[in-house]
Amino acid sequence: MLTPPFVLHRPKSVEEACAIAAHLASEGRPFDWVAGGTDLLPNYKWHLNPKGDVISLAHVDGADALASDRIGCMARLHDVATSEVVHPLLAAAAAKVASSLIRRSATIGGNLCLDTRCFWYNQSEDWRRSIEWCHKADCGTGADCRVIPNQNTLCVATYQGDMAAAFMALGAEVELVGPNGERRMPLEDFFELDGMKKNVLQPGEFLLSVHLSEDATSRVGAYHKLRVRETWDFPEAGIAASWIPGDAGSLRVASTGLESIPGLHADLVDAHEDWTEKEGRKRLSKALQKAIKPVNNTVLPPRYRRSMVSVLASRALRAIMQED
């Protein structure tokens, strides 16, 4: 499978990366960032929104930082999974991503910026021609959405990154840089509820690193992932939870693999402060299930995935209380 032609740029520093981005923007040349390539290359081979220029972050100095309070975008998931300095929840979540071979290439930045997925979208060009195109991939054709037909504005492709839920549960912040400088925000604010737009990155901007506060280190967390095989598969549903043991109010619960963006469920958690009790936990799990509405575009049917939210949530909650 060939990717469409593109020019690969390999900056050695953040400044150089921004300069290349600014230069391409000034010439009106659209481009993509690439980190490990495990998401971008399959998409390009399928001819999904390829660009004429690609800027690789692989050689950007310091982008692969791996510390307890800061993880660079180029940190490989394999290194995160086997690291002794990162939070155990992050190591555990990273170890559940795809396969060991993919984790050697795949990165934290790439996982957080993962393209949304849909079985009408992640297909070859020939395949999409047979459904008269997909409106996420083939803009300009006037194609309809196949998941929710008769509308061509909203994209409901599913975000299936594992790391986002774990990071959110730990209260992580992301650092974005671009030609216009850098900015920081809580990870939950990074995502934008649209399968096409995906996140708040502006043209020319990229996710440089993820930051964790002091608070995160005292947290106990768990990530439960629903998948058919214990390797390769994207999460059909994923729930991460963490708390500071003894402080019921410190609970954070995040979900992924269920909707177009991962979600932090702060309001629901606040409404169920009795979650440390069995009944309260059950109510919270059910409330989470109710709040999440998957659609039919992944391997398993949405009704089932939704039902699994409460199972995964109550398991994650029990796990962080270290009850079993």
Binding site: F119, D126, W127, S130, I131, R229, T231, R303, Y304
Partner: protein
């Protein structure tokens, strides 16, 4: 270029290093003259020589006609594949690894429509593009082909109509792949879309535009491609059934999932002959089809089989892309290479048929299987492929290993606008077998007996005949069941495990080589032929058309020759890649290679052996009956110090005539009945297997994990136990895929949603249970050294074993595959609702209290154990046919003894339509009966 793995000259001292590394080449060759690579002749290995001829190898199943040929050299010993070195060093050459000088790249334009008429194709823009060297369309090859001579319904590229998304429309060859892809985009095709059909059940209805038209044989105006009906036995047996199980199954289609995508290289050489390189299981079919489609005689085509990166049935049809490559190469005058993307592999498909199968089992008060009714509607996709045969196999391969009071089968295969289904490992037998074995579990539950005892009390013995007339020779079913029962600790575990943990049993029965060569009369031309050539150097060249697809057929053929001639394996060189040099052979399908090619190879080797022994007779003065072949020596039986070396005998035998050349052939014996379809399912021998599987079911999520499998397979005689165990474990893996997660998912629009290896979920190493392979050796009287197949049969039992274990774990009996977690979870929810249980963890596991029948079955099983043992060892040679268990005299024709016991040829459409979907296919008439004359 890598360093290569050259033979080390005079390497007698080298080879093994302290660090465990080993020299790759053939080791420590001795100076010229000795033959072989080991410097000294090995003593006779008595452990590899059967008891019957004075060795130490035990023969519980009795002696064998080939025993006298055993030399203890390799047969029965775990043997690394003879082509393993090529594979572990990256030198094995698969389809896409054939790179000829001056090659260009071919790509295929595929239909974006499910079903459409082609109004016109304009290739002019593509042809005008720089770098494009040839463009072809259906007009370039109007002749039809197909794997079966009776159903040739394929074209190299679409003529008139496209029949599924991905159907071939045109092809392009260009200087590189990007240019070829660009050129495809420049081809303008004008389609008129037609109404597509995806649901095989609707294929039974009359439509305006059937997907194919069979003229006067067309069934109504439906999409029925083939319908089948067979009935045997006495229907009255089921009237007073003590237990009855009826279950309508839905099996999703599954794909072979071989790791190597299809690839082909075509080249017309300087003499105008076509050299076609392709990873084929059956190069001969491709050879025939190429000749037809290209309008070139077969002798002007050389089909070269590359290494095959997995086949499993998926590389046994002649394929349109093979024609395309040849056509493009002819047009451009350059070698053309076409390699598929993984998606295209799914478009060409030929996987297991998506099926609707209804199975009804009845047992009488004695726990005998009074009736087995099968109705199978199978979804053939857009082309016939092997479907004609599959239609039969779905029923007839269920007629053993149990003795049946009656058997009733209706089958139908319909065309739909999906990629064509075809043959896949366990061809046609897998789905029905699963339904039958699950039904038996249900019957056992109703009768309150142990399901293994139920099976043991109903087995056909060795040397018997099934209800449909198949000739059973060796039969290790009983031993397989007993072994898995014992090794798995079945009696302690069954119906005794906690909620979520379960154990289940399943059996299998499969052909060891299809008895009927599709293209010729088996009485006039052999199934398999092997040529052997031995020249002065002593090396033995074996020419065979057996296509090694990784199962180790080359190794098996080399082994039997090595065994007969008492030569080390590295002196045997198997040449099986080219049709120019290999004798006509049907290749690797229907698990025929071990049985047929090895038999042919033994016969050829016997001829060489005879020449050598005669030469030794000349030299030693001892008659060949008193001579023994030992490692590269022929010695006098009573004094091994008297003898000649192999080379001495060989050179003596070559006097005046040069190289020794021999050939051997295998032809199956006459078999089978005379009813319609009697040939389907006939085989010179059958394999039997019994598996016990243990599962863990997560009752909250429905995830099923198979944790342990005990897998007993009767392969007659394991020529290479390493390969047999590999086949057993590999079959477990493939079967587990179908039972747990694999499916070709056609969405509501009929598009294949998961044409990639990420979403087509083949189990990973984590999903693989620990498998204990158990080899049962029943020593088949006609098999090479007693061997039967081990490549397909071992797949069958794993599906029902897992289904039955799931029932044992959660009390829910599946009726569709795969058991994906959402399906199992749904079933658990239904059970909870019906029992008013809130929490799935509060469900109760099924338990068993033996009923009064248990004792009776156990004692019948014990009695039959003695019967079978005597028959297996041919101590009892009395005739036995299906029906004896129901009181018939095997020496008289059954229909003379009991009214109603008969083969029913004349179907009654009304009653058949009650059977299930396939039965309804008989409500329509063929065109020839519809108009005018009656």
């Amino acid at each position: 270029m890598s360093g290569g793995y050259r033979q080390q000259p005079g390497g007698a001292g080298g080879g093994v290093r302290k660090d465990g590394k080993r020299v790759a080449g053939k080791l420590r060759f001795t100076p010229p003259g000795a033959g072989g690579s080991r410097p000294v002749s090995d003593p006779r290995n008595l452990d590899g020589i059967p008891e019957s001829v004075g060795g130490n190898e035990p023969q519980p199943a009795g002696h064998h006609v080939h025993d006298r040929l055993r030399t203890g050299t390799t047969v029965g010993q775990a043997t690394a594949l003879v082509d393993a070195n090529a594979k572990i060093t990256g030198q094995a050459w698969y389809g896409d690894d054939v790179r000829l000088p001056n090659e260009i790249i071919g790509r295929i334009l595929r239909s974006p429509h499910h079903y459409a008429r082609i109004r016109s194709i304009d290739t002019s823009a593509a042809e005008a593009m720089p770098g494009v060297l040839a463009v072809a369309t259906g007009e370039d090859a109007p002749k039809t082909f197909g794997v079966l001579p009776v159903t040739k319904d394929e074209h190299a590229m679409a003529v008139e109509k496209v029949r599924h998304v991905g159907d071939l429309v045109a092809c392009v060859a260009a200087v590189d792949e990007a240019t070829a892809m660009e050129a495809l985009g420049a081809i303008v095709v004008d389609y008129e879309e037609l109404d597509p059909e995806f649901d095989p059940r609707k294929g039974l209805e009359d439509v305006d535009e059937p997907i194919h038209w069979r003229g006067k044989y067309h069934v109504g105006r439906t999409n029925v491609q083939k319908r089948v009906h067979q009935a045997f036995g006495d229907r009255s047996n089921i009237e007073n059934a003590a237990a009855s199980s009826r279950r309508a199954w839905r099996f999703e289609g599954v794909h072979h999932g071989f790791t190597e995508p299809h690839a082909v290289v075509a080249h017309w050489d300087a003499n105008g002959r076509l050299q076609l390189y392709t990873p084929q299981q059956v190069p001969h079919y491709t050879h025939r089809a190429l000749a037809t489609v290209l309008d070139v005689p077969m002798h002007q085509i050389n089909v070269i089989r590359t290494f095959v990166g997995g086949g499993f049935g998926g590389k046994s049809d002649p394929f349109p892309h093979e024609m395309c490559a040849a056509i493009l190469a002819r047009k451009s005058g350059r070698p053309v290479r076409i390699t598929f993307d993984r998606e295209e592999v799914y478009w060409i498909n030929r996987g297991r048929h998506p099926s609707y199968i209804e199975v009804k089992l009845d047992a009488d008060e004695d726990g005998r299987v009074a009736g087995l009714d099968v109705d199978a509607l199978i979804d053939g996709g857009a082309f016939a492929s092997f479907g004609h045969v599959t239609s039969y196999y779905n029923g007839v391969l269920a007629t053993a290993p149990y003795e049946l009071g009656s058997f009733h089968y209706t089958g139908a295969r319909v065309w739909t606008n999906k990629p064509a289904s075809g043959a896949m490992r366990g061809h046609g037998a897998v789905n029905t077998r699963c339904a039958v074995e699950v039904g038996l579990d249900d019957i056992a539950e109703q009768l309150a007996v142990d399901p293994i005892d139920l099976r043991l009390a109903n087995l056909l013995p060795p040397h018997s005949r099934t209800i449909s007339g198949f000739r059973i020779t060796s039969n290790g079913m009983r031993e397989a069941l007993r072994r898995v029962r014992e090794e798995s600790g079945w009696d302690q575990k069954f119906r005794n495990m906690p909620l979520g943990k379960g154990i289940g049993i399943g059996c299998g029965f499969f052909i060891s080589g299809s008895g009927l060569p599709i293209h010729w009369d088996p009485n006039r031309f052999p199934h398999a032929t092997v040529h052997i050539q031995v020249d002065m150097d002593g090396g033995v060249t074996v020419h065979t058309g057996a296509a090694d697809i990784g199962q180790g057929s080359t190794t098996a053929v080399a082994q039997v020759v090595s065994e007969v001639l008492a030569l080390p394996l590295d002196m045997i060189h198997v040449r099986s890649h080219e049709s120019d040099t290999s004798p006509v052979d049907l290749g690797s399908y229907s698990s025929r290679v071990t049985f047929m090619n090895c038999n042919a190879a033994i016969r050829a080797a016997m001829e060489i052996r005879e020449s050598l022994l005669n030469a030794a007779w000349d030299m030693l003065g001892y008659h060949p009956t008193t001579l023994v072949m030992v490692d590269r020596r022929i010695v006098y039986k009573h004094d091994p110090s008297v003898g000649v070396s192999y080379l001495q005998a060989l050179h003596k035998a070559q006097e005046d005539k040069g190289a020794l050349i021999a050939r051997g052939a295998y032809r199956s014996p006459p078999m089978g009945g005379v009813h319609k379809g009697a040939a389907a399912g006939l085989a010179p021998a059958y394999s039997f297997s019994a598996y016990v599987a243990e599962v863990d079911v997560d009752v909250e999520t429905g995830l099923v994990k198979c944790t342990r499998v005990w897998a007993a397979h009767d392969c007659g005689k394991a020529l290479n136990p390493l390969a047999v165990e590999g086949q057993i474990i590999g079959s477990c893996h493939m079967g587990l895929g179908q039972v747990l997660s694999e499916r070709m998912t056609y969405g509501r629009t009929g598009h294949l949603q998961n044409a990639n290896l990420l979403q087509y979920q083949i189990p990973s190493v984590h999903e693989m249970p620990h498998v204990t392979p158990i080899i049962v050796e029943s020593s088949d009287p006609e098999g090479p050294f007693g061997a039967k197949e081990a490549g397909e049969g071992p797949l069958l039992p794993i599906l029902p074993a897992v289904c039955n274990a799931v029932y044992d774990a959660i009390g829910v009996r599946p009726s569709s595959l795969p058991l994906s977690p959402d399906v199992v979870w749904g079933d658990i929810q239904k059970r909870m609702k019906s029992e008013g249980v809130e929490d799935p963890l509060d469900l109760e596991s099924p338990r068993l209290t033996h009923g009064p029948l248990q004792e009776k079955l156990a004692s019948r099983a014990e009695e039959h154990y003695g019967r079978d043992h005597a028959r297996q060892r041919t101590e009892d040679t009395s005739p036995y046919v299906n029906g004896v268990l129901f009181g018939f005299d095997p020496t008289r024709p059954i229909d003379e003894q009991l009214e109603g016991w008969a083969a029913i040829d004349d179907p009654d459409p009304e009653s058949m339509a009650e059977m299930g979907y396939a039965g309804r296919a008989w409500l329509k008439q063929e065109q020839r009966h519809m108009e005018g004359d009656d």
